[in-house]
Amino acid sequence: MEKLLLIIKREYLAKVRNKSFIVLTILSPLLIVGMIALIVFLTQINNDEKRTVVVLDESEFFTNEFITTPELSFVDFEGIGVESAKDSVAGLGYYGLLHIPGGNSIDEVAEQIRFYSKGSPSFSVLGPLEARIENKVREEKLRNLGVKPESIDDISSSYEISTSSFTGERSLKGVNEIKAAIGGGLGYLIMMFIIIYGAFVMRSVIEEKTSRIIEVIISSVKPFQLMLGKIIGTSLAGITQFIIWILSAGVLLLVVFTMMGVDPQALQAGTPVSSEAMETLEATTASAETVNLYFREFMKIPWITLFVSFILYFTLGYLIYSSIYAAIGAAVDNETDTQQFMFPVIMPLMLAIYVGFFSVFDNPHGPIAVGFSLFPLTSPIVMLMRLPAGVGPDGVPWWQLITSVLILAASFLAVVWLAARIYRVGILMYGKKASYKEIYKWLKYQ
């Protein structure tokens, strides 16, 4: 036990003091924050650029329809021909010219409307124009059918279906997506951690083999102790790095946003979100009842179960994968030889993420979701994606959660045992090209 602690300490310090590790730890948050700041900055520039469209309206239908907004301003031309209007628009450097010819009916006019611009026009300009014209045409037609102008406003009110669960509670749209995002985020975190720090473990094993120190070490400690110490030490270094990343990225973001004068909450508003989303956002914030509902839904996510499960799945999943990585490291002589073994390791992780995003989000309790959340190599990721929906009758059945954890724990023991056997033999094999067949033979050595 004392030796295990020594090994953990050494592995941790070796990792944490490593120059590339330090550089990565410091630079990553800077890079990420820099990227976000750049995106925000560019979006702001983009928003500041106001486009001006010239309207040459020769009909009587679209008067007062084109009113300047923050994104788009309009200039009216009158009494000149299309050709000279085009020339002056180009000369004045305006974005484009909307030509509405005269006509008897709005249909006829709409048919003839044309937009002229230098290049192909941006959707952010065309969209609003089309929306306005479409609106006007519909209004006009309704009036022709004899609908009173007051009624037209009535008709245009949008409609949203209210949903409710069988037990009678009002359920909310979008909640499932939020829950899925939480689960997906946790699953993704596990996958990234496994891929990054599992590879660290593997590299560290290869380093011990190539530097030939391994035999000196295992004449003092059991190979299993060394493997375990290495895995734990490396993961502690990884957790340290993650915590530094999260803290420093948080602080940096705050600093950068304050400097740039961006209110973090205004961020969403600043990005070109479609007006529909804006409306729902406004609608929801407007209704205190809905806020309350969202809050209740949020609180209904089984945070404690989720947290405990996350720790459990994270630990077991990481230990399973990193011992496989350690065994791979022991089986090869250098990193280039690892390729043939890497794919089968990464595949279940990828599969878990894809299955998660394409199937579990849609149907968190369907057969595919259940299957993959029981299978030990994918369960850490898939089960975490299902869990925010709750545990119990409405969510993941308890038996599934418990079975999944038990299977994972049993596989953990089996995989670590197998990996330790491969590791034990592999670390002393030099110059032998390891094949699956060869490794299978190692398993049978006494």
């Binding site: 020594l6 011990e208 530097s211 120190i213 035999e215 004449s219 003092s220 050595y445 006494q446």
Partner: protein, 308 residues
């Protein structure tokens, strides 16, 4: 005679390959024991069994009279043939780490280390990283790490590879010094001159089996073949050579001398002794050189392996 280490009927299989076949050795306390054999004979497997890196399928190993256990690793120092150090770690820190893995406390490790660094005059290496050292320098550190915890049993696998002659000598003296202080040494090598110099006992392993062991002197005595290198000065060399050929098994001898005498290697048979030969020769020529041919460790090694 008391043994520090006894291996009895040890066998070890790797898959289909039999690495050790019923090997028994006895290593007396405070001796230097040469474990010899060609590449792939099974020496390293035996050494790994002693170090409990791997375990025998059959047979048992006794350390100081007790069955070999985990606790004994603190009393064994092992310098493997495939050796190295963590390249990114500082010398002092690394040596202390390895000593602590052997069970030494931090303060003891530091004290011992300071003694050895002082002895080798390398105190200023303490804070340097291993990758900044030359191969010979790293080997010195490796040697110190092996002996730091004052083990009862020292196992050196090809200890002199990677050393220049001066440092090889230094290490050889240190090994002899450690033996003087009571350590038992197992010494595995192909370099027979160092066996000749250092080893009191040897065991020869070939094709997974032990084919020869015992005290080196006894083995040599057993392998000498009543053969003598002789220098003779006389006028008619060809006549004498012809006479000798009739009576004995004679071949050309090669030794250094200043004259141009007849040099022959003569093997005696049928209980004839050196005295008989001297008597025969003294009447016929002036004897300038008369030495019994004692087989070298190298001769015995090659001869035994070839016969096997």
């Amino acid at each position: 005679m008391e043994e520090l280490l006894v291996a009895e009927h040890v066998s070890k299989k790797y898959g289909q390959h039999l690495a050790l076949d019923d090997v028994s050795i006895r290593i007396p306390k405070n001796s230097i024991f040469g474990l010899l054999g060609p590449n792939g004979a099974g020496k390293t497997t035996l050494i790994r069994i002693i170090n409990q890196i791997t375990y025998p399928d059959h047979g048992k190993v006794l350390f100081d009279g007790e069955p070999l256990e985990r606790k004994h690793i603190a009393q064994i120092g092992y310098l493997p043939e495939e050796r190295g150090l963590y390249k990114n770690m500082k010398v002092g820190e690394q040596a202390i780490y390895l000593a602590r893995l052997k069970g030494l406390s931090k303060s003891d490790a530091k004290k011992e280390l300071e003694y050895w660094f002082d002895r080798f005059g390398i105190v200023d290496w303490w804070h340097r990283k291993v990758q900044e050292l030359s191969k010979g320098m790293a080997q010195k550190i490796q040697f110190i790490v092996t002996v730091l915890h004052k083990p009862k049993l020292l196992i050196f696998d090809e200890p002199f590879s990677g050393f220049d002659p001066i440092n090889a000598n230094l290490i050889k003296d240190e090994i002899l010094n450690l033996q003087k202080q009571g350590a038992t040494v197992i010494f595995s090598t192909h370099r027979m001159e160092s066996v000749e110099e250092l080893c009191e006992y040897i065991a020869l392993i070939n094709k997974s089996r032990k084919i020869l062991d015992g005290k080196l002197i006894d083995i040599k005595r057993k392998h000498k073949s009543n053969t003598f290198d002789i220098g003779l000065e006389l006028a008619d060399k060809d006549k004498l050579r012809a006479d000798l050929d009739e009576r004995f098994t004679v071949s050309d001898a090669f030794f250094r001398s200043v004259g141009d005498e007849l040099k022959v290697r003569v093997q005696l048979h049928n209980g004839a002794t050196a005295n008989d030969l001297l008597e025969y020769l003294s009447k016929r020529a002036l004897i300038t050189h008369f030495v019994e041919v004692i087989p070298t460790a190298n001769d015995i090694f090659i001869q035994t392996i070839n016969e096997d």
